[in-house]
Amino acid sequence: MADRMTAHRDHDTILIASLAAGDLADLARADAEALIAACPDCAALHADLLAIAAATRELPAPVRTRDYRLTREQADRLRPAGRRRLLEAFGSPRLAVTRPLALAFTTLGIAGLLLTAVPAGGPARMLSSGSERDAAATAQANDGAGSGAEGTAVPAHGAGSPAPVPAASPQPGGDLAGEPAASAPAIVSGGEPKDSTTQGSGALAGEAGGIPWLPILSVVLLSTGLGLFALRFAARRLDPA
């Protein structure tokens, strides 16, 4: 008896279950049937599984205790009309893009406004002016040794540079394009100095007298983002389900 039980434990019960479910192809089926013929426990398992499957199919239907018909109020809430329907669309999970979109617009809007609020050129100019200052100081030190105290120095733009830049006292300012300081006249290739007072903020607010695109765009983005957030919030409030 103990030997039989030990042997049965080693038998493939999944194979027996597959046979009971009628899932086996010819070869595996033959194996399973041989197993059932040889092992009484496997045969009992097979019979039990068939009986369980049959009993499961015959399980009586549980009795319903509630009426699931919809009331008019429920129906109105589930399928709103007009403005509510439009509004609900924003809170719908199918429009899951609303939230990230609102977040992106708001972030871009705030970033744009911050960028606009920074004085012309802003941090970028400060950074680049620092490097210019270093370059000018280096050049001054190099030239100072040879030419004495001339008061002006030509920054090292490379040997034979055709664009000497007046290097009075180091100026704050300068932008990403490496323009000279706003208060210093820039010397273009033709040698004509050009007042670049308005060039610093040109990239942000357009040319002098032009339309300040960045602030406008930032406000539009921020408004759109906040509007989407508000619509979503209102939609969720309307439809708590």
Binding site: T13, I14, A17, S18, A20, A21, D23, L45, A47, D48, L49, A51, I52, A53, A55, T56, R57, L59, P60, A61, P62, V63, R64, T65, R66, D67, Y68, R69, L70, R72, Q74, A75, L78, R79, P93, R94, A241
Partner: protein, 219 residues
């Protein structure tokens, strides 16, 4: 109960826009013709038509869901949410069997709530201790046979509640609802082999749980 997290998941999940591929012969079957007509009416805003559909199918849906979610209160809420979802998404019905379409919505809702329940395990199905929910036996049967049948159903229902939700869902869909393996695979989002494995292992688990009570099932 309706505000539970699990149900909110069920509510927010749209029914799968999968056309029922089972042979329906809708044109031949008066019941299905009536269902389709009612769906058309309900789509145009006729609440009474939708409620007629509810009346027709609520017993079936409840029986289906209560076997997948043995907590009766929760099952009841799942059925309600399934009808809510069906009403909300009437436009997504693409023809075929209305009964199967509603069944799929209910199955999705039931599986969602099972997943939510698995994430927050609580006492599993205490309602199964309550024997009053078993349906009354037919009065014409012999009392002894009736008692055995009732005891067998109770034992099997208890054992079904003891296996894993995945195995239970597969067995209910296969043995009780009559879906085939491929349909269950589509419904539950797993492979055909996994469905078979769940059914086989589920039955083996049932047998292990019913050890000592198998005489109720043998002849």
């Amino acid at each position: 109960m309706l505000d539970s997290i699990g149900l909110s998941i069920a509510v927010r999940r749209d029914p799968r826009p999968v056309e029922d591929l089972r042979p329906t012969e809708a044109a031949e079957d008066p019941a299905q013709r009536r269902d389709l007509w009612l769906v058309e009416q309900a789509r145009s805003g006729d609440l009474d038509a939708f409620n007629a559909l509810v009346e027709t199918h609520q017993d079936h849906l409840f029986a289906l869901v209560v076997r997948m979610v043995p907590d009766r209160d929760q099952a009841s809420d799942v059925v309600q949410e399934a009808f809510f979802s069906a009403y909300r998404h009437l436009a997504s019905f693409r023809g075929g069997s209305v009964r199967s379409w509603l069944g799929r919505i209910a199955i999705n809702a039931a599986m969602d709530i099972q997943r939510a329940r698995r994430r927050r395990p609580v006492q599993p199905y205490p309602e199964l201790e309550d024997e009053t929910w078993q349906p009354p036996a037919p009065s014409t049967a012999e009392p002894e046979l009736t008692a055995i049948a009732a005891e067998r159903s109770r034992a099997l229902a208890g054992a079904l509640a003891g296996i894993t939700p995945d195995q239970r869902a597969a067995i209910v869909l296969f043995d009780i609802e009559g879906y085939d393996y491929q349909e269950i695979a589509d419904l539950t989002g797993v492979s055909l082999g996994t469905v078979k494995s769940r059914i086989h292992r589920g039955r083996l688990a049932l047998r292990a749980l019913l050890e000592g009570r198998m005489e109720l099932f043998r002849g």
